[in-house]
Amino acid sequence: MKASKKITIVISGVYLFVSVILAAVFFVQAKRDVDAETQAALAMAEALIAQQLTFDQIESVLQHSRHLHVTQDIHAFNGDSTATQEYISVKDPTNKLTIYGAPEAENAEIFTTVYQVFGILLFSYILTLVLLNISVREKLKPLSSLSLALDQIGEGRYAVDVDPGDIEEIRSLVSHYQTMADSLYRRKQKVQHLRARLATLQERERQGLARELHDNLGQLITGIRVQSYLLKQQAGSPAFVQRTANLLEQQCEEVQSGIRQITHQLYPVALHRVGLVVALQEMLKRWAEIHGIALSCHFPNTILSMSPERDMHLYRITQEALSNIVKHAHATKVTVSLEAKDTQLILSIHDNGVGLQTLNDTHHDGLGMESMRERASLIRATFNVNSTDGTALSIHVPLTEQKEIDKNAHITCG
């Protein structure tokens, strides 16, 4: 129900109630007044008769009286002494005159008062109604603007541009809604931003893989092709055929190895099935073997919660770090540790290589470093690089979920 309608109903009810009470009071009071006046008039009339005054004397006494009159008309009233609501009359014993009176004046007075009071009541009722309706409608206008503005938020327009007027409660309400709209907007921006960053990261990954295919595998196939061509040219020479066939076999093996590496990079199948710790251990072992670098692992937690997104990013960060070590560090020993301490999961990768030219200065990050930082920030982790003794990467991820049991985490790496 609208406010103005409700107010109208309530005010009307109150006024009606007051009117009824007032009417009752007036009625009772009026009756009493009339009775009293009648009694007084009767007493006065009787007193005058008792004095046995003449008609003229009584007439001169009563000439200014509003209530009593005297008449010589002996047929005017019946009975000796009557007091009814309409009139009183007292006849004198000789029946030559009658003093009578009607409470009309009193009634008139009473009615006037009643009319005045009810008139004021009506006037104030109307005035109150009009004023309240107008001001309510006026002051509540911001609320309908607010509703409109909130509807627009649903359509993506986050400006709550409402004039709150001067009512403090409404100002406060509008102000709170504006704050809420602001934070919704910022949240939306943040989500868009994160999505864009994730997309960029994935795109870079794809580009990297495309390049790997292009640069390595593509060229291997070129080499294989030319060997096949040579084979055609020298088909007659068995020694040459033998040699070339061996070469072809070797080169095909290289292609296979390249493909396997790429697929592993693309999708470490193990990750979701066996958990981060085991996946890392296996990847590290493989890597250390291929590159002949001494590896030392430290995975003390047998209980480690699983979080697909976090695990994937930590895995990739490790891959990237190892790739950097191979490319730049010229290290002979690498230490990797993953430990849950208090409310954090800490991944550390340390190598005894040449160290980085730049430290935490993000402006000079190589592509790999940048993608590691990006991944770290996507899982809300801090990313630190220290280059005093070789290079040490340290990633701290806040732990939020409950712990589950990772049943294979107790496998150690050699």
């Binding site: 580009q207 990297g208 390049r211 790997e212 292009h214 640069d215 390595n216 593509g218 060229q219 291997l220 070129t222 080499g223 294989i224 092709r225 030319v226 060997q227 061509y229 040579l230 040219q233 020298q234 080169q251 290289e254 490319k327 030219q357 730049t358 402006h363 000079h364 990050d365 190589g366 592509l367 940048e370």
Partner: protein, 211 residues
């Protein structure tokens, strides 16, 4: 006749070396992994034709070619690359090379190319030549054309991931000049970050990501 094959991918190098040896029995085939080895070889032998890969480890073939031609102006350079984009072919030919073939070509094409350039002709693999002609026809401006020599040198420095001070040192200019050049670069090449510069360099064959 002496032919020098410059390619950092062993399988490719060895394969084509064998091909050339077999099909051109009168020629001596030399191999080099990088620009340095190439220079050494060129200093020692009277090389006629250089078959040059673009995506070399340390330096881009696009930058090596002009250096070689500086020292040996009558050298005939044939680019042999995985890059097939018309813009790159265009830039490659502008360095003064005599030929360009893609690594996806039939092995015989390499022989045709060598024979053609030895006869004083220019040889561009058929498909690439068509692309190149369309490219020239469209009068597309090569974004690298607008760079000055210095800007290009700074660009190469950034692409290789060098710090500004190092670039300044290498080019014998001040740090401030380097910073200014980088700002100019970003504006001319229409990128916002240094990382994008690196990507541009990679995509255009000026820098190789080590594998």
């Amino acid at each position: 006749m002496h032919i020098l094959l410059v390619d950092d991918h062993a399988v490719v190098r060895q394969g084509y070396s064998a091909l050339l040896s077999m099909m051109l029995p009168d020629a001596t085939i030399h191999e080099a992994e990088n620009a340095r080895q190439a220079m050494t070889c060129l200093n020692q032998h009277a090389v006629d034709v250089v078959i040059l890969d673009i995506n070399l480890e340390q330096a881009s073939g696009l930058n090596v070619a002009p250096r070689l031609l500086n020292h040996w102006p009558r050298l005939k350079i044939i680019f042999f690359s995985m890059f097939e984009e018309a813009s790159i072919v265009n830039r490659a030919m502008h360095t003064g090379a005599c030929g360009y073939i893609s690594k996806r070509c039939r092995p015989e094409i390499m022989l045709e190319a060598v024979k053609a350039v030895m006869a004083g002709k220019t040889y561009i693999e058929h498909e690439l030549a068509i692309n190149l002609a369309s490219y020239a026809y469209n009068e597309k401006k090569d974004i690298f054309d607008q760079l000055t020599r210095r800007e290009f040198d700074v660009f190469m420095g950034v692409a290789k991931g060098q710090k500004r001070s190092r670039i300044a040192q290498d080019l014998n200019i001040s740090d401030k000049t380097v910073s200014n050049a980088i700002t100019q670069l970003k504006s001319k090449l229409q990128v916002k970050t240094s990382t994008e510069l690196v990507h541009l360099a990679i995509d255009n064959g000026y820098v190789k990501i080590a594998s």
